[in-house]
Symmetry: C2
Subunit: 324 residues, 2 copies
């Protein structure tokens, strides 16, 4: 998708021009480090795409796109401390490469810079953009807290899980796209549809993540397939299985999910067998497609000509059909 | 100072009305905890005072006052992790009472709420207030980083130390007062004078802190007198002494400041003797008074009638003459 690559390049050039070269280096170097190791830049690209649905030039949306990318990376710094994660995108996490205090403080100042870049958006929009960022940022923190709570919770309901992934993953994408739409000149009704599109795509994306982690092709998937099962993570797959399973299977799955396996491959196989028994993969895929359809429904409702929606629609389908 | 107590009461009522009672409780309860154990509420009260210099009603400034108080308390949560501090105002710190992850995440969401309350200020002022908060918040993080760097630095220059306390302590007070002034209707020139007043009072306040920690009256001072010396903390007193001392005394002080004393009282006495030899207490007091005078000079320059400055001037003198 050439046009999207163009936007990504434009964003990366902006990022490069705005490197954190100021003093004290001990505070800012880790920010350049995490921003450099990168990822797909999905949030800023989607923000710019949302802007372009309404206006050909996306220059005005670059500071907000950077704000969202900085905010997202700040959450990675702090989440990786909380999860005690040694690696991020194949590289040492900031608290591993430097130390925990650095990851805390550099993360803190990143969050402030997210607001500082947001403040470089067109002035009349600033109060509203600030409201959007505040709203979704609070959602992200609440989502992370629910995720932490679920680790030790005995039982998590599917509605609770769906609410958690909406907050932790989907609302930031939704808010990013809403901001892009408003900067592009969308009215509030259209911007709300764009927000809903982003939220539903975000949820579909996270469900896809759950599916790929267990059923992905090891040759294509970046991480270790079966990682969620090995780590006893509560995902859509486990929670839905527990909803459907009979007493014996429920007990078996609960026991497996509390164990630290000596034979990890055997454990993964046992859990996958249970998933298959209850047809969980296709249930999850159906749920994912429901959210994709919901998202596209909101996109259809946006009051611009259909050809302005083509690239965003294609990207949505692409994101959900990904295998990595 | 009855009028100031009135403002503090008004602020505390606002705080009480805006307790964090929402879900998830695991995220928000620690915020109520830290906000409740309190302190002097110096920043919000000074913000309201700055507002009242220009306008009799301070209602409009309450959200910004709360924003600043939340921001300040967020920094306490994270600083206490970094300093591994068990106590704050005589109570268990959040990472001790709960855990480190809680202190990180509750702190994060506090910072966002600081921006959210700021966004409840009068709408036309929001872009400017956002700029002020961003500016001073970045300063606070940089100041904290310099403070951390100084712990392991071999030598810290007095200018570096003064810059650090300006950032870590003074700019938040300055920014708070600037916001208050603008919300009260001050023009930008007056607001700048108010900012400078707050900054210089903040620096004087921190110098007073350094002095009291070593020379305070144990019967009145809340913390242990001599704590900075015991912890080998680089303060105005040590740095100035090292600037003035002869080679032998420099060596002695450096050695003392690298040691973990078996006889702490003896160590404190030795360092205090060196301070006395170089008349450090009166040098520090003179420096503090210079900043107080600078601050009052900026207050004089504000274009309102002098009787509107009385309470703020009195509070400044009171803060600097405090013994606790």
């Amino acid at each position: 998708m050439q046009s999207i690559d163009g936007l990504r390049t434009q964003f990366l050039q902006y990022l490069e021009k705005n490197r954190f070269n100021q003093a004290p280096q001990t505070l800012y170097e880790p920010i350049n480090y995490i921003l450099k190791i990168g990822g797909k830049r999905m949030r800023p690209v989607m923000l710019l795409l949302a802007c372009r649905m309404f206006k050909n030039e996306v220059e005005d949306a670059l500071p907000a796109a950077f704000a969202v990318e900085i905010f997202h990376n700040f959450t990675l710094l702090h989440d990786d401390i909380m999860d005690d994660a040694p690696l991020r995108r194949g590289k040492a996490t900031v608290h591993e490469k430097y130390d925990i205090n650095t990851a805390i403080l550099s993360g803190d100042v990143m969050m402030i810079y997210a607001y500082q870049y947001l403040a470089q958006s067109p002035s009349p929009l600033i109060p509203e953009l600030l409201g959007i960022l505040n709203h979704v940022a609070i959602g992200v923190c609440e989502g992370q807290q629910y995720d932490i709570n679920f680790e030790t919770a005995k039982k998590v309901k599917l509605t609770e899980y769906m609410h958690m992934i909406e907050q932790k993953t989907a609302v930031l994408l939704a808010g990013a796209m809403e901001m892009g739409a408003r900067i592009g000149g969308a009215n509030k009704t259209d911007a709300q549809h764009v927000y809903n599109f982003g939220r539903d795509i975000g949820i579909a994306f996270q469900l896809q993540d759950d599916i790929l982690d267990t059923f992905g092709d090891p040759a294509k998937f970046g991480k270790k397939v079966g990682g969620d099962i090995a780590q006893n993570k509560k995902t859509f797959l486990t929670i839905k299985t527990l909803e459907l399973a009979d007493t014996t299977d429920t007990q078996t799955l609960c026991q497996l999910m509390q164990s630290i396996a000596t034979d990890e491959a055997a454990k993964i196989k046992k859990v996958k067998d249970l998933y298959e028994k209850y047809d969980i993969r296709s249930i999850a895929e159906k749920e994912m497609n429901t959210y994709l359809e919901k998202a596209l429904h909101h996109l259809n409702a946006v009051s611009v000509t259909d050809n302005r929606k083509t690239e965003i629609r294609e990207l949505a389908r692409y994101l959900i059909s990904r295998e990595v």
